[in-house]
């Protein structure tokens, strides 16, 4: 197998967005994967409905980069679940990402003549 770049898997274009949404979700406090998926789905008014599975690679990447921390615990349903929590670095990243996103959406909005 070559070392060449593979085409990005579907949905990877939204990677940065998904990361930001996850971090945003965790501002409210620690949550496990299922909760995060539910929250994203509901708060985005189902506009961003994706396969829930694609959440996990994103979560683990964030964990690797030290933006969230994780530990196993017991969920509200009394089931075993892995809980994710925002770290200080995660908070800083969320702030910068949010402002970058705002700038971008405003720019796009200007281009589209929405204001």
């Amino acid at each position: 197998m070559g070392n060449g770049k593979r085409p990005p898997p579907a949905g990877e274009m939204l990677q940065g967005t998904l990361d930001m949404l996850i971090l945003r979700t965790l501002v409210m406090g620690p949550a496990h994967g299922h909760t995060i998926a539910q929250v994203i789905e509901h708060t985005s008014e189902r506009a961003l409905e994706v396969e829930q599975g694609s959440l996990y690679p994103a979560l683990h990447r964030l964990e690797d980069r030290g933006l969230v921390s994780a530990k196993w615990g017991v969920s509200e349903n009394n089931r075993k679940a892995k809980f994710y929590q925002l770290t200080a670095a995660g908070r800083r990243r969320l702030a910068s990402e949010t402002s970058r996103w705002r700038k971008m959406t405003r720019a796009i909005g200007l281009i589209l003549g929405e204001q």
Binding site: M1, G33, T35, E51, Q52, G53, P57, R61, K82
Partner: protein
């Protein structure tokens, strides 16, 4: 970071699986709460989640290192494909292991003997001072020469004299007296060679002057073994020959010269001495930028000055001074020998490579379809080459690992027969595998893997896809290119093997001739030992004569001893040369009648060795200092200097002229049989014997200083059983002197031929392994070719071909290759055996016997190797063959 991610990925994957299960459970709970039944809730949860394996695969990829993955996959693939053909793999690894093992073993020895002595800082500046003459040049110095050389400050930055340990010294004062080797050196010796001083200091200028006091520098080995590495040793005194010596320093372990040395003493030359006796050597360090040519030019002037000062007796008009590189003088002897060995093992390795390359080619041909399929499925050419190279490197490295083990074991086996090689230490203790050897083995393994792997890889990587895939049943089509390549490999194996075997045959013939040489006396049941007599008691002849008489009496009284004698020298161990005049014979222009080796012996020497008396009489005990001077000559001397006359009527003046050796003329009283002074491989040289009791005092003093006294007994019993009684008897007779170097004459003879024995055995081993590998190679090729052509043979037989016809066809094909190899090999051997010239004795480099018998032997072996597959071809059952594949 990446690596940590990579290493933890198994655990992470398991965790992810668990996490997914937890997620699904929560989703089901959610749906169940809405009233969906369990079965449906489960289904919906799964759909909602998406592909579980996709998620896990993505995670897995994220946590992977591509090159490790690729390598690992290749290795796993290689392991699988090699495991499928265990026979091939085992043979390939074994062949490589033998090739590399032999290389590693020989390299270990070469590393010690050739490479390690090159340890002096800026050694290219070090030179040996030589006396040149039209007959050749040689080292050797006296004080006047040393002085004039030391004055050449325009070319030399340092000049130092040293001797070779000579008589040895008796170290007393401990539980047991011990004979040690003390080398005399001048003050600049250590700084010239850059010797590391680990404790104290070396000699000062004042200590190296006459009356400079008794001082000594210890070697590391003696400091450790005799003084237990005592850190307070500097400043204490030790007893040498009964005299106290102040220890001023200890030299480091890494300092190794050719002369085994226990301790160093200052020469304390009187630089005004006119003494012309040569008894030490001189080396110098050239000033930076001075070439050997410039030094030689300057030394020509110095030689003229020397001749003007000391006259033509001290240096003839044709003679002069010169320098040679110190290392070439020290290492020179063994260099050719070891490079020949290295060349031989290189050949063995090449044959091994050719063999394995052949095996790989065969394999690659057999896997043509597999490789073509892989290529058709999209494997790039690089990938296929990489896979095949990984395969060959895996084999090479496994073989290298095994070879390293074989090599380390092999060195141990090699060393007992390497006795007598310089610098390998007692029982080869100095030969140890070090990182040079490891690096060498690794390098050779990699090179081997690439060498034998590349050709098959390249030829396999350009398969004609269509042809290979279509080649469903037409197995007869063995690729033309690889077929030719394989034939070439087999031919070169045969040629290389032939060259090696011819070399081995020449050395075997040499050794047989050497073994057949008559030493001139009976070597059996003779025990010899040396005694250092450098003390004050033995500076005059009378003292030595008394010691010889007392010792001989005590030894003869021992049970089992039939005869005992003493001498300055033993046969085969060298002797001093001295000029002589025949009294009354005109000399013409020559300064002397001639020159001969000179041996001082006790009266019973010839009886003890059983050297036959040809004419006249032997020495008697009465031929002492009070009796008229007598001399016995050997047959070679009689023939050379009295081709017609009768030596017994003449008198000899030995070392004529003024000097410490001056003595009246001696009557020739006998002629004895020849012995070999230096080597069995050299014709006996002229030799004159005089009684120890009749030596001039000056000669005795020099003798005692530079050589130990040798004791010899002939026994009725096993000679080694006399070692302890002899040691004790001589201790009593000499008032407490120890002996050393206890050896039988047989051992001395074996030592004398050790180099030849070593060369012969090694080259025989190489030749035999080369022959075996070449045979395997040709067998493998023919066996494969027969297997590939099974169908063709079957058709031929079905059509009525005779079995003998088929057999002959196979044999002819194999033998054509073998014979081409043999012819090339003979040509190669003609060109290469001249490098063996210096190892041969009484055998020509184009020895007809070796050049006729060896090709016959090789052809016979090749015939045997192709006979087996030929027989198999004959036994092909046509029906089976036609259904083959």
């Amino acid at each position: 970071m990446n690596v940590r991610r990579f290493l933890g990925r198994k655990a992470k994957d398991a965790e992810l699986a668990e996490e997914i299960q937890s997620h699904l459970a929560h989703e089901e709970d959610l749906r169940a709460a809405r009233g969906v039944n369990t079965e449906e809730a489960r289904r919906q949860a799964r759909v909602k989640f998406g592909g579980q394996n996709t998620v896990r695969a993505e995670e897995w990829r994220y946590r992977s290192l591509p090159w490790v993955e690729n390598l690992w996959r290749d290795l796993k693939f290689v392991a699988r494909s090699l495991a499928k053909t265990p026979g091939f793999t085992a043979i390939a690894i074994l062949v490589i292991a033998v090739g590399i093992g032999v290389n590693t073993a020989v390299f270990s020895v070469i590393n010690t003997v050739l490479l390690k002595p090159l340890i002096f800082p800026h050694q290219e500046e070090l030179v040996y001072l030589m006396n040149t003459s039209p007959r050749g040049s040689g080292p050797g110095a006296n004080i006047p020469k040393f002085r004039i050389w030391s004055e050449q400050r325009s070319i030399f930055s340092k000049v130092a004299g040293f001797d070779f340990g000579g008589a040895g010294l008796n170290l007393t004062g401990g539980d047991k007296p011990q004979q040690v080797q003390g080398v005399h050196v001048t003050q600049q010796y250590f700084s010239m060679l850059g010797a590391p001083v680990i404790m104290g200091r070396t000699f000062t200028q004042a200590e190296d002057a006459p009356n400079g006091g008794h001082v000594v520098v210890l070697s590391y080995a003696l400091w450790k073994s005799r003084f237990g590495g005592n850190s307070q040793i500097v400043g204490s005194t030790i007893q040498l020959d009964g005299q106290p010596y102040l220890v001023v320093g200890v030299i480091g372990k890494t300092f190794v010269t050719d002369t085994p040395t226990d301790l160093y003493l200052p020469f304390q030359f009187d630089m005004n001495s006119q003494d012309q006796a040569h008894y030490f050597a001189v080396a110098a360090r050239l000033k930076p930028g001075i070439t050997i040519g410039q030094a030689n030019a300057q030394l020509k002037l110095a030689a003229d000055q020397f001749r003007r000062t000391y006259g033509p007796m001290a240096m003839g008009p044709q003679d002069g001074f010169g320098v040679e590189s110190l290392l070439s003088v020290w290492v020179g002897d063994t260099r050719t020998s070891l490079w020949v060995l290295m060349g031989a093992v290189g050949f063995v390795l090449l044959i091994a490579c050719a063999n394995v390359a052949n095996l790989m080619l065969v394999r690659a041909t057999g896997r043509k379809r597999e490789l073509a399929t892989r290529a058709a499925l999209g494997a790039g050419r690089g990938q296929i080459v990489r896979q095949l190279l990984t395969e060959s490197l895996t084999i090479a490295l496994s073989g290298g690992l095994l070879g390293l083990v074989l090599g380390v074991v092999g060195v141990r086996l090699l060393l007992p027969i390497a006795q007598g090689m310089p610098r390998i230490g007692e029982n080869g203790s100095a030969v140890t595998p070090d990182w040079h050897v490891l690096l060498f083995t690794l390098g050779v393994s990699l090179l081997t893997g690439i060498l034998f792997g590349l050709a098959p890889a390249i030829s396999a990587s350009r398969p004609n896809l269509l042809a290979a895939l279509n080649e469903s049943s037409s197995r007869s089509g063995v690729g033309f290119r690889s077929g030719k390549l394989r034939s070439a490999l087999v031919i070169s194996e045969m040629a290389l093997a032939l060259i090696l075997v011819i070399g081995a045959a020449l050395l075997i013939r040499t050794f047989m001739k050497l073994e057949a040489v008559d030493p001139g006396y009976d070597t059996r049941n003779v025990l010899t030992m040396s005694m250092s007599i450098s003390g004050d008691r033995f500076q005059k002849t009378a003292g030595v004569a008394q010691l010889v008489k007392d010792g001989t009496d005590k030894l003869t009284a021992l049970p089992g001893v039939t005869d005992a004698a003493a001498a300055c020298c033993l046969p085969l161990n060298g002797a001093f040369g001295l000029p002589f005049d025949v009294v009354g014979r005109p000399k013409g222009d020559a300064p002397f009648t001639g020159g001969a080796f000179y041996d001082t012996v006790s009266w019973n020497y010839f009886n003890t060795f059983k050297i036959p008396l040809l004419r006249g009489r032997m020495f008697a005990e009465q031929d002492n200092g009070a009796a008229p001077g007598v001399v016995i000559i050997n047959e070679a001397m009689a023939k050379q200097f009295w081709p017609k006359g009768d030596p017994l009527k003449d008198r000899l003046l030995i070392a004529p002229g003024p000097g410490p050796f001056a003595e009246p003329a001696r009557q020739v009283i006998g002629i004895v049989g020849d012995t070999h002074t230096r080597s069995l491989g050299l014709a006996p040289e002229p030799m004159m014997y005089t009684p120890i009791a009749q030596m001039p005092d000056g000669m005795t003093a020099l003798n005692s200083r530079i050589a130990p006294l040798m004791w010899i007994v002939r026994s009725k019993v096993e000679p080694h059983s006399l070692a302890n009684p002899m040691t004790a008897a001589l201790r009593v007779a000499s008032d407490g002197l120890p002996v050393a170097h206890i050896r039988t004459m047989d051992e001395i003879v074996i030592r004398n031929t050790s180099q030849q024995r070593f060369n012969m055995l090694l080259l025989t081993i190489f030749g035999a392994s080369a022959l075996l590998m070449a045979a395997i190679g040709i067998y493998g090729l023919m066996a494969y070719s027969v297997q590939q052509r099974t169908q063709e043979m079957g058709i031929r037989m079905a059509l009525g071909a005779q079995a003998s016809h088929i057999r002959n066809m196979v044999i002819r094909q194999g033998m054509i290759l073998a014979l081409i190899g043999v012819v090339i090999g003979i040509a190669g051997a003609f060109g290469l055996t001249r490098f063996l010239a210096s190892f041969l004795f009484d055998v020509k480099v184009w020895d007809p016997l070796a050049f006729i018998v060896t090709p016959l032997l090789l052809s016979a072996v090749a015939l045997l190797a192709v006979w087996v597959p030929a027989e198999r071809a004959v036994r092909v059952d046509p029906m089976t063959a036609l259904r083959f594949e």
